[in-house]
């Protein structure tokens, strides 16, 4: 897992929202944290962060 994810504040058990995705399984555009930081990352990277659907 690229360390960069953690360095940007996407720590384990951070909840995030997927706002958009580029076509053909392209990168995800996500928003997370209190400050609603927006970051792009590929599906492969996103899989490292455990995703649990929020109600």
């Amino acid at each position: 897992m690229p360390n960069k994810i953690i360095e940007m504040g996407l720590l384990p058990e951070t909840s995030f929202v997927i706002l958009h995705q580029a076509p053909f399984s392209g990168p995800l555009y996500i928003e997370y944290g209190e400050e609603k930081t927006r970051v792009a990352l590929r599906e492969e990277e996103a899989r490292f962060i455990f995703v649990e659907p929020e109600n």
């Binding site: 953690i6 360095e7 940007m8 392209g26 400050e35």
Partner: protein, 680 residues
């Protein structure tokens, strides 16, 4: 008499990417800025100075980073400078982003723990307020033991306070580190710290935890024994540190940031609904590209006509006023039109550059990267590669430098190697003149053939770069992970005036750079054409075609003929191509000079002379096949010494620089030969 020796101070400007460092840099330093790159992305360090209350302050703007541990070349530059040049600077201005304060604090803590004096500036505070985030700077200042200032760089708020603080040396130094070294590694840290006599434990920790170059202490690593190496898994240590730091930062944030219950949606979020949309997003990008193309080629026409007229007048005037003779011819028909041939492209290059700067400034390019990532991956490229490819249409040199933000070494290498295939502005003069020679004025559904041909050349450049990338993918070793983890910054209003200033500077550089080469080349050509082997030559007689043929220049050209005639070129074109190896745009200047040197009809423009040039058998010299062959040659050939130099500097590899040169030259030769043979 008071001693008026000015005090000198050196300050670094650091922070995450996209926090407004460069904006602040430009506001603080109003003179002596040495810029190191084209596009707005800071990948080289900038240095600038300003004078305040009799003190001269030099500021170095470094590339942004999220952590002291670099993941890409530009971050490595940042870390290296920060650590190695510690004696040279007195303090760091750390710019934190009010909209992303939590993330900003990671690097901040690391810098403080290294013992470096810091003055913190929180930027975009008002924007955060609008969003519903209130930051209690006083509380934050207390908790961190840190001097904090607030600013809004875009609106020029807080700049004077910053200058005042710098003057008063209001930098804070940590007395206690934020990060506690994990107990399992303490023993090793103690041991090394005694060994190298380094009192700062965090510094020693970074040495253990770094997996790439981290400064002067690097040599110590080799002194560590096997036993020590076993408990060092750098990446894991870095992750451990980062997680622990964020836990701390969380605590600080909850005490200092209060959020209003309703989060107001920023303009950025609204815009992104369209700009990143699976269909609309690409449409908009396409429209933007087309708009740029349109502007560059059609709006530019007005200034281009003025410049054309101006140089024609200059040429005419000089022809009339200078004494008769070959020197007159050289200047009026060679050098002046030659330089005019470059200046006339200044508006186009300027408009193109301006658009590129504005796009970078606004934050839109991150969205383009997002949209293009999926499509570039099959070619061994990263979404980030789109930026150098697009800016390569202006000039490959800064484009190649901007690849420093691509983390994966292989992706970066491929991007560097293929960028020169993109149609750069130096090829424009050549394309324009040849296309004008070989295409009629007809239209196809209202679009001029010439315009289609030009678009075709741009498309060819892009297609070739992708094909080359695809091939290279299989020849280059895979190293490390490929990933895309990228911040999507809030959209910002571009710096219209500042960017205009930058563009004018770059265009001037282009003209003077090319101008010098044309001047030198023209003079050399003149000498070579004017003198020849003794027996056949009368120096004082006015030139006619026969005499030129006996000069040294012609002799050189004739030597080349066996090599270039399969491509459809005569010796004059051969000379043109040869001089282009210094810089492509010199082709037009060379042609002007050559056609003026053996001249019976000086009133005709260069292009008319070229058009009417016929071979002994009556055929046109610049036939369709030959013209097309020249176009293809310039599309593929590596004709730019500066680019070769930059490729070497960025790849640090003779091997790849040579491979690129050989491959491109070979491709240019073969392709233009095939094209000529096919169309003749």
């Amino acid at each position: 008499m008071p001693n008026s020796a000015k005090k000198q101070k050196h300050i670094l400007l650091v922070g995450n990417p996209n926090v407004g460092k460069s904006t602040l840099f430009n506001l603080l330093c109003n003179k002596n800025q040495k810029t190191g790159n084209y596009a707005g992305v800071t990948v080289a360090s900038h240095e600038g100075t300003y004078l305040y209350k009799d003190e001269e302050v030099e500021i170095v703007d470094l590339p942004g980073s999220y952590s002291i541990y670099p993941t890409s070349e530009d971050e490595a530059i940042f870390t290296k400078y920060l650590i190695e040049e510690q004696e040279k600077y007195s303090g760091v201005i750390y710019i934190a982003d009010a909209l992303n304060l939590k993330r900003s604090l990671l690097l901040y803590q690391q810098i403080k723990d290294l013992g470096i004096p810091v003055l913190m500036v929180i930027n975009q505070v008002d924007l955060a307020e609008k969003r519903g985030l209130h930051i209690d700077s006083k509380k934050l200042s207390e908790l961190l033991g840190q001097n904090i200032l607030e600013s809004n760089a875009k609106k020029n708020i807080g700049i004077d306070e910053i200058r005042e603080s710098i003057f008063k040396d209001e930098f804070s130094v940590s007395d206690k580190p934020y990060f506690d070294i994990p107990s399992e590694n303490l023993g090793l840290v103690f041991k090394i710290s005694r060994q190298i006599e380094e009192k700062n434990f965090y510094k020693v920790w970074t040495l253990i935890a770094a997996d790439t170059y981290l400064g002067k202490l690097e040599s110590v690593k080799t002194q560590l024994n096997q036993e020590d190496r076993k408990c060092m898994v750098p990446k894991r240590l870095q992750v451990q540190e980062t997680i622990r730091r964020y836990q701390q930062i969380d605590g600080i944030i909850t005490q200092t940031i209060s959020k209003k219950p309703q989060f107001k949606e920023l303009l950025t979020e609204k815009l992104d609904k369209v700009l990143v949309h699976p269909v609309l997003g690409y449409l908009v990008f396409g429209i933007i590209l087309l708009t740029i193309f349109q502007s560059v080629f059609f709006i530019a026409e007005y200034p281009m006509n003025w410049i054309d007229a101006a140089f024609a007048w200059l040429s005419e005037t000089s022809r009339t006023w200078l004494p008769e003779g070959p020197l007159n011819s050289l200047i009026s028909d060679g050098i002046i039109p030659g330089i005019g041939g470059i200046v006339i492209f200044a508006p186009q290059i300027g408009i193109l550059l301006y658009f590129l700067y504005l796009l970078e400034d606004s934050g839109y390019m991150a969205r383009v990267i997002f949209l293009m990532d999926r499509f570039l991956r099959p070619f061994g490229l990263n979404g980030k590669s789109i930026v150098p490819l697009v800016s390569g249409t202006a000039c490959a040199i800064p484009a190649i430098m901007s690849t420093r933000n691509i983390e994966n070494v292989k992706e970066r290498l491929i991007t560097i190697l293929i960028t020169p295939f993109m149609t750069c502005s130096a090829r424009l003069p050549v394309y324009s003149i040849i296309i004008a020679l070989i295409f009629s004025d007809g239209t196809f559904f209202g679009v001029k053939y010439k315009a289609i041909a030009l678009l075709g050349m741009y498309f060819l450049g892009f297609a070739t770069s992708l094909i080359a990338a695809f091939i290279l993918k299989y020849f280059i070793k895979n190293t490390g992970k490929t990933f895309l983890v990228m911040d999507l910054p809030t959209y910002k209003m571009p710096l219209w005036k500042y960017d205009l200033k930058l563009v004018l500077g770059k265009v001037w550089e282009f003209i003077t750079g090319a101008g010098k080469i044309i001047l030198a080349v023209s003079v050399i050509l003149w000498f070579l054409s004017y003198f020849g082997p003794k027996d056949d030559f009368h120096i004082l007689e006015h030139h006619s075609d026969v005499k030129l043929e006996n000069s040294y220049l012609a002799k050189i050209g004739k030597q080349m003929e066996p090599v270039i005639s399969p491509l459809g070129y005569d010796w004059k074109m051969g000379v043109g191509i040869l001089t282009s190896f210094a810089a492509r745009e010199v082709f037009v200047g060379t042609m002007s000079t050559l056609y003026s040197l053996d001249d019976d009809a000086p009133e005709k423009s260069v292009i008319e002379k070229m058009r009417s040039d016929v071979k002994p058998n009556g055929e046109k010299v610049f036939s369709f096949a030959t013209g097309l062959s020249i176009l293809i040659f310039y599309a593929f050939a590596m004709q730019c010494i500066s680019t070769i130099a930059v490729v070497y500097r960025e790849t640090k590899s003779w091997k790849w620089t040579a491979i690129q040169l050989v491959f491109m030259s070979g491709l240019a030769y073969l392709a233009s030969m095939l094209v000529y043979q096919f169309f003749k």
